[in-house]
Structure formats: C-alpha cells, structure tokens
Symmetry: C2
Subunit: 423 residues, 2 copies
C-alpha cells in the first residue's frame, strides 16, 4: 500500500518513487488527451512548469538563477569559486509532443544533483533547463544553449519572433524568466546530458544505455520559392508561376535524394516539415512559399553528394514551375565526435551498475551538441519504446528511466570529482 | 483645365469624369503600395468601402437595405410592386488583389442605375454588392450570392469561420451589415453583371466587349492528408508517414494531369493553392495537411477523365508516402450556358455603341454563375491588360472601363423595359 505521507512530502525519499512522482507532476503541464504534452517555449504551460521546477530546486537548496535568454539554472555551490559541472536538458516540447523528450533529462539531472547535495566535491554542480530547445515556436532549435555557447547572437535571439509576431525578449521579460548572476561558459568545467533515444537501436538490441559517440552531419536550408499571384481558374497553365508547385517539387526532391543515395551505404535522412504559403487562398496561385529542407547523414561525403544534387536539381524546378528558389538561410555541421574520455567514464559507471550499453551516434540534435567542443561533454541515451519521437505516443519505461537516473548520478559524481575537465 | 467645383460635387455630372473619380475613391480602400487592394470580406477596409458605397447610394436616392448574410442592395423603386432588375458584383478582394475585380462591376452597376434613375420602367432597379465573393477569408467563394439563391444554407454560412476562428455572423452583427427588407430571389426578374475578363482573350483579339456564353465545368476538392508525427532527424525514412510528402505529390499530380490531358484538345486547368501543415515545425514530420485541389475545363468529358485519373492515382500516393488521403469535401458544376436572349440583347447594345464584341466562356466563377439558372442572367466582360488577375498589377484602361459602363447602361435600360424575364 505504500506510505501516502511519504509520497506527499517533497523533501522525503529521493529514490525511485519520488522521481517517478515528480515526473508525473511534470507531465501534467500541458498534458494532452493522448498522453503527450503541448508546451512550446514560453507558452503558458512552459511558464508554469518553469515556475514549478524553480520552486523544486529552491526547496532543495539550489540557488535558482537565469541568464538573459531564459536559461534556468539551479546551482549547488559547495566549493566556493570552483567551476561547475553542468547537467541538464530542456523542458519545452514540440506541439503535441512526447512527455520524455528533454523533460526526462532535466528532471534526472536535478535528482542526480540532489542525491549528491550532501557531499563536497572538487567542482560545484549546476542543473540547467535550456530555453527553447525544440525550435518549433522560435527558430532555430537548441536556442538557449546556442546563445550560451556563442553560436547565436543574444540580441538576434531576443528579437526572434514566433509566427504570430511575438518577440522572445518581450515574452521573457513579461514572465520574469531572465536575470543576472547565471554562470557563463567560462564557469563550466564539463557538461552531461541524458535523453531518450528517439530511435529504436537500444530497443532492437536489448540495450539499456546508449553512449553517444558522435552527431550525424547535417545541412539545413531555409528556402523561399517566388512565383506570381494569379487566378487559379482563368490563368492559362503556361503563364503560371506557381510557388506552391515549385515548393511541392522541392519536397519530392528531398525524398528522392534519400531514395537514391541511401542504398549506397550510409543512410541519408531528408525532410521538409514546415511550409508557409502566400496568400494561401483557394482561388489564387501562390506568389511565395517558404519552407525548411534538411539533409542528415553519418557519412560526410554522402551528405556532400546529396547537397550537390540538391543544388543542381533546383535549377530544373525553377524552370519547370517558372519560379525562383532562393536560399534564405543555411547552417550545418560535420560529424562531431564526443570526447572518448567521457564515453569511457560513462561505460565504467554503467558496468558498475550492471547496465548493458553500446556506443552509438545521435541523429537528432541536442543541447549537448552546442556544448560539445567548448567543454568536455558526455551524452547518454535511454531506450524509447518503438523509437516514437515528437509524438504524443512517445514512451520510456519506468525501469529504463530509473536506470538512466542511476547512471547519470554515477557519471555526475565522477565528473564532480574533477575526473574530466577541459585542457 | 476642367472645373474643380464640378469634380468635387458628388451629385454633379454622372458621366466619365465622375465614374473615374468614384473608382479612384473606391480603390483607396485597402490600397496597397503596388497599386492593388487588400480588402478581404468583412475586413476593416471592406467595412469602410461598404459604408462609403451605402452613402453613395443613399445620397442619390437609392433605398439601401441588407439581407441576413450581408449582401448590400440599393433599390430604385419607380413602379411599386414590380419585380427588380438586379445588377452588381462584389467589392471584396483577394489578399493583395487587383482594384478592378468585382469593384468595377459594382460601381458600373450603381452608375448605370443612377443614369436611369430619372425615368420610369416596367421593372424596378436594384444594385447589389454581394458579400464575400472571393472566398479567400470565408470558404466557399461566391458566398453571398450562394445564400441568396439557396445553394448555401444561411445558418451554415453565418457559422463559417475564418482561419483565425472568427465567425461570419459575429462580424456582420458587429458592423451592422445585416438587415431585413431586402429583395429575395422571388423579387428578381433578371440579373446582369459586368466584370474584368481575368484573361487575355479580349486583349489578344483587340475586342472591347466579351459576351459570356458559358461557364467552364469544374470539380473542386478539399483534401486531408493524414500521416504520423515523428522526428525529422532520427526517424528511419522507411518508418515515416509524412503528410507533407503526400500533399506535395498531390500538388505535382494536379499539374501532371493538366500536362497530360491538355494536349488532347480542350484545355484542363488544375491547381492547388491553399495548404495548411500540422504541426508545421522544423523538426517534426507533418501529421496532417489540408489542401484544396481544383480541376476546370470547358470539356465535360475531359474533366471526367481528369477526375478519374486523379482518383486512381491517389492510391499510389497513399502507398508511396504511407499516408491516407481523405476527401473532406467536394463540389462542382457542368458547363453552364448563359441564356441566348441575353447574349443577343447585349450584342445589339454593343453594336449600337459601336463596340467590338465576341462570345466567349468564363473560366473564373462569378456571382452571375449562382444567379444563372434561377433568373435570366447576362454576363459581360471588358478587357484586362495582360490578363493579370488576383494580383496587384491587374489593370483595365479607362477607355475600356467607360465603354463597359455605357454597354451596361444600355443593357440595363432594355432589361428594365422587361425585354427578358423568367418563363
């Protein structure tokens, strides 16, 4: 029957039951009917969970501080002046997304740090909830950690607007989610993050822990297709400059590149997932369509080949649809390895706990990708049932979630001892 | 130098200078930087032009009345109890549309009726500004005239919402654009409308007047593509159910049908111009896309063949993109001839004025399409430079606009004499 009083006392047993109860509470913010969450960055649900998480940290002795872009930190300074081991992830979600994506890693970080709160370490501990990792409301994704590491200009980030024209800086100011006194990159000795896999490798191989060794390479484009507004009925077909036709051919081209090149060895993942049509009227040929187009592969040469084909075929689409295709923006990265020392350390902790593990890449981006290269970074995965991701049906079992928490606690203890630091 | 006092007096000379000055005033409502207008139905700009037009009518002795769906009438009852000759078009525009589309026909109708105001006729005169002809904000198009003729249920029409969720009935009530005492279909003896061509036939053939003899046949679909939300990076390509890929293939299919079938004789115009993507996030495969798909042809058999091919190929798209394509709605019409008596009457008036004319179809829908079949209907065109339509660059010359006004006045005079009535 358990002890109800024990479950209701937030300061009580910080083991499995408390973690799972806290996770259930967290999953209530923006909960959807089908078991997911709907809490995009700086939404009302995100603000509420941010406030709840701040109280959770403060109640346990963490010093809660924020930086100017809304990253939320809980500091445990036991060794004055020493750098921090930073550990965390993000609480925001995709629209109608899963409960575990990001939120699991933030809560596991907080519980792991809290477990170590009673002891002194060479390094201090800092838990982080990065702002707007998902990027669905404010582009780009991994937003808060990009500002933290200098990849994104803070002024430009604050001036970013959502599709309704609402500015990040105004939202953060209104909710009181910014502040001073937060650690900066210079204060960080190393970073750790745990996340659900978002794929099926661990499940298919019966493995509990993924030791992430590298990020896939990626090229991401913001494209603008320019046509000419005209009547969908009366305009002669040969006269049309249909921006939506051009955009549709780009969507099909992205899939064709994957179909053609994936058979040659390494996989190539391609996608178009966002599209805005102007004027989007039932009787007017579209004058302009904006869309994103992503290419990802673990093989940099294959990615380069896909990128080359993409560019060469755009010209054909411009001719056939009588449109212009502009590259409004692009960014990308190569295959980025995570430090071997961190992988080895995490492997030893997993072995000590009797948890099965395997080295693997991450296809999805994470805040750890921004930190990696600046400070020694450890990235860990736990299994995700059927690999379902960015979907309300996303799920990780309690046993796997708790195994990950134990692993992260062990990793954090060794990182706090100063086993791996920069330089 | 002209007489400024004359231009400023709204009651003065009702010839060419006044018409053009009034048209310039009308074009100022919702004027865009590039010479077009942006005044969708019940927008602030549409409300202002509606109020201006009501005053224009009232100042000249018209009795201004409205029906429950926001159609605006100006009545000139000189023969108590006699039915009305109805003449008009619509003042609303596409987003960033042309100045002439619809507005020309409404103002020409008002000026033509005003020119005849001093004389008595067998029939009474009624000018009409139909509500929401464009259908860009509230679907379907030709909305007000569809309610007037019974093709659209009034309750359903009032409950229609724009993309922001705003209800037609609430907007009309707030602006006072509804009323009682308006004529109904039973009070109408016949209908006439003049419109810019929205094509290049008149310009290419050096003709001033188009005598519209028929409407192209059309099939219009509202389609919903159902996929499954997942991560654009980590989801294995073979596992994806990408609704946007399915939608893109439908856009390409629509164009392919035209490319394949137009060579066989009659033209086939196809289009997709509106698309809504959910969740429209940069890192989430789309779970649902809604779109419109239109097929139009002057050849009913060709249209039936295109419709058959469309349906047969949807199954292939469902398989290749692993999505379901649902037909959420559809409507259509066959080739609809306009009455020969009206064409003959208009031709005689044009001959009398020395205006070149030709019989031609209309591809675009007009409010006259809704009236046709219920009451004898006369549909007239004037040229449109380069055939530009639903675009800020739309233009008709002053000479053509004034020629059309003279023609409409002559047609209206003969219709008011009772030359063509139902039965």
């Amino acid at each position: 029957m358990g002890d109800p009083a024990n479950e209701e006392d937030p300061m009580a047993d910080d083991g499995a039951p408390t973690f799972l109860a806290d996770f259930a509470t967290l999953s209530g913010f923006g909960a959807t009917e089908r078991g997911g969450v709907h809490r995009e960055a700086a939404s009302e649900a995100d603000d509420r969970q941010w406030a709840w998480f701040g109280r959770w940290l403060a109640d346990r002795g963490f010093t809660v501080v924020h930086d100017r872009i809304g990253n939320q930190f809980g500091l445990l300074e036991r060794t004055p002046g020493a750098p921090y081991v930073l550990v965390g992830s993000h609480l925001d979600s995709q629209p109608f997304g899963g409960r575990w994506d990001g939120a699991y890693g933030v809560l596991a970080a907080a519980h792991a740090a809290h477990r170590l709160a009673g002891t002194t370490h060479a390094l201090n501990l800092a838990v982080v909830n990065w702002f707007n990792e998902e990027g669905s409301r404010f582009t780009p994704s991994m937003f808060g950690s990009a500002v933290f590491t200098g990849a994104l200009d803070p002024g430009a980030a604050l001036d970013t607007r959502d599709p309704a024209g609402i500015r990040v800086g105004d939202l953060l100011a209104a909710s009181g989610r910014t502040g001073t006194g937060a650690p900066t990159l210079a204060d960080i000795a190393c970073y750790a993050e745990i996340h659900v896999e978002q794929g099926r490798v661990l499940e298919d191989t019966g493995t509990t822990i993924g030791l992430v060794e590298a990020t896939w390479a990626a090229r991401k484009y913001a494209l603008r297709v320019l046509g000419e507004q005209s009547h969908t009925g009366s305009t002669v077909m040969a006269d049309r400059r249909d921006a939506l036709l051009g955009a549709a051919r780009l969507v099909v081209l992205a899939r064709e590149l994957s179909d053609e090149l994936s058979g040659t060895g390494a996989p190539l993942h391609t996608s178009v997932s966002r599209m805005t049509v102007e004027p989007n009227s039932p009787v007017t040929v579209a004058r302009e369509v904006t869309l994103n187009l992503d290419l990802r592969s673990p093989d940099e040469q294959l990615l380069a080949r896909a990128d080359e084909l993409l560019h060469s075929r755009i010209a054909g689409i411009e001719r056939s649809a009588r449109v212009a295709v502009e590259i409004a923006g692009s960014h990308g990265w190569g295959v980025q390895p995570f430090p071997a020392a961190g992988i080895d350390l995490a492997r030893e902790v997993a072995d000590g706990l009797g948890l099965g593990h395997r080295r693997m890449p991450t296809v999805a981006g994470h805040d750890s990708v921004n930190l990696n290269g600046h400070v020694p970074t450890v990235m860990l995965f736990v299994p995700s049932v059927d690999g379902i991701s960015h979907n309300e049906g996303e799920h990780t079992t309690d046993a796997d979630a708790l195994a990950g928490l134990d692993l992260l606690t062990g990793v954090l203890r060794r990182l706090a001892a100063g086993e791996i630091t920069a330089g």
